[in-house]
């Protein structure tokens, strides 16, 4: 017990402690307070201030990501069909093609109408290849229209219904196979038609026969 008290007396001396506390009255300089507190404020800061440090790089990453997404999306999108070449289904194509016959000649004169179709047919996915083929077929039809008023396509589903010739077909026809002296006489006209059929010009023969039918009613036909 006495040893314990002695130890306590030796390690804790109130007089020494009091003397030290009375004399040790130094204070921290103001500039140190300022420096430390400023450092503490700068290090802590509001939570959003830490987030601000990440805002700029995050914005860059987001911008680049959005740009990449847009570029990829555009690359994957099917290319826009050229104006005047709207994709049509096989069922609807004949009617559409028939309509286009009326304006086929000026459009066929434009080479740009054929070029996009050829471009479309190259290096495309299968689902778009069909549409490109349709466009090419349509261009072929337009080319035929530009060559003459009679169009017959027997190669596949892109059959064009021959529009009934109007009453003034004779006047509208720009290229005739039978001259006026032959068309004046039904027998001569018919002979001309037979001659055309014999030569293998079936389209021309059909046109002339249509015109003959309109010009001379059937009872007069042999």
């Amino acid at each position: 017990m006495s040893d314990k008290r002695n130890n306590r007396d030796e390690t804790v001396d109130p007089r020494v402690s009091a003397a030290y506390r009375e004399l040790a009255d130094e204070r921290t300089p103001g500039h140190l307070d300022h420096a430390v507190l400023n450092a503490a404020r700068g290090a802590a800061g509001p939570k959003w201030a830490r987030a601000v440090a990440w805002l700029r790089p995050a914005a860059w990453v987001a911008t680049i990501g959005v740009c990449l997404a847009i570029v990829i999306e555009i690359a994957l999108l099917p290319e826009q069909e050229p104006a005047g070449l709207t994709p049509v289904s096989e069922d609807a194509l004949p009617a559409t093609a028939t309509k286009r016959r009326e304006t086929a000649a000026p459009q066929a004169a434009e080479p740009a109408a054929a070029r996009p179709a050829q471009k479309l047919s190259r290096g495309m996915p299968e689902e778009r290849q069909g549409r490109a083929d349709e466009a090419e077929a349509l261009n072929r039809i337009q080319d035929l229209d530009a060559q003459g008023p009679v169009v017959k396509d027997e190669t596949g589903p892109l059959l064009l219904q021959s529009a009934p010739a109007p009453a003034s077909a004779r006047d509208l026809a720009t290229e005739r196979y039978c001259d006026e002296s032959q068309t004046a006489d039904p027998n001569a006209w018919l002979a001309c038609i037979l001659e055309l059929e014999r030569q293998g010009l079936l389209d021309a023969a059909r046109l002339e026969r249509d015109l003959l039918t309109r010009a001379f009613p059937p009872p007069e036909l042999p």
Binding site: E22, L23, D25, V36, L37, A40, A44
Partner: protein
């Protein structure tokens, strides 16, 4: 009765961004820490540098702070290590001292009291300076930080008995200096 939040709670609040909590914590501990370093470094400029270094480390460690021990123990452990680093960096440590007792601020006492205090400060300062670093360290941790023997042992990485012995010697020497009677360790 005013509620006084724990140091550890203040540190945790500062970790979460509450700067006011750090200011409270700093106001509590700044003067004892400064005196601890001033007595050790003996040079005011060096003490100020180490002081800033200590608080800088406290600020940096806020995210990893865990209240496993008293904040005072944590603070003075950092200060103890910073002081050891300072000694290693400065080979000339201990050769000069610019902390003169007469340069300390007075309280506006009468001349006789000032003279007595000045003499007592000279004796105490001389006795403290004469202490071995380990004994002075233990005494200052006990007086300034208010740490127990176990806590001082934790700060200085020594055994409790070693700390107790060092403190006993330090107190004996200072008592002798105050009595103006020489004593040998």
């Amino acid at each position: 009765m005013e509620h006084r939040p724990e140091d550890s709670a203040l540190m945790l609040r500062y970790r979460d961004g509450d700067v006011a909590a750090f200011e409270t914590l700093y106001q509590r501990h700044k003067d004892p820490l400064f005196r601890y370093l001033l007595r050790h470094c003996r040079q005011r400029a060096a003490a100020e540098d180490v002081f800033q270094e200590v608080w800088g480390k406290i600020i940096k460690s806020r995210d990893n702070y865990r209240p496993t021990a008293k904040f005072t123990t944590f603070l003075f452990h950092v200060a103890h290590n910073c002081f050891i680093d300072y000694i290693r960096r400065n080979k000339r440590y201990g050769t000069t001292a610019d902390v003169e007792p007469d340069s300390w601020p007075d309280d506006g006492d009468c001349p006789e009291t000032l003279v007595e205090k000045s003499l007592a400060r000279r004796r105490l300062n001389a006795a403290l300076s004469a202490l071995p670093d380990e004994q002075r360290d233990v005494f200052l941790l006990h007086e300034e930080a208010g740490l127990s023997l176990d806590e001082i042992a934790s700060v200085t990485d020594c055994k409790r008995e070693t700390v107790k012995s060092r403190l006993r010697y330090a107190v004996g020497k200072l008592r002798a200096a105050l009595d103006d009677t020489p004593e040998t360790a």
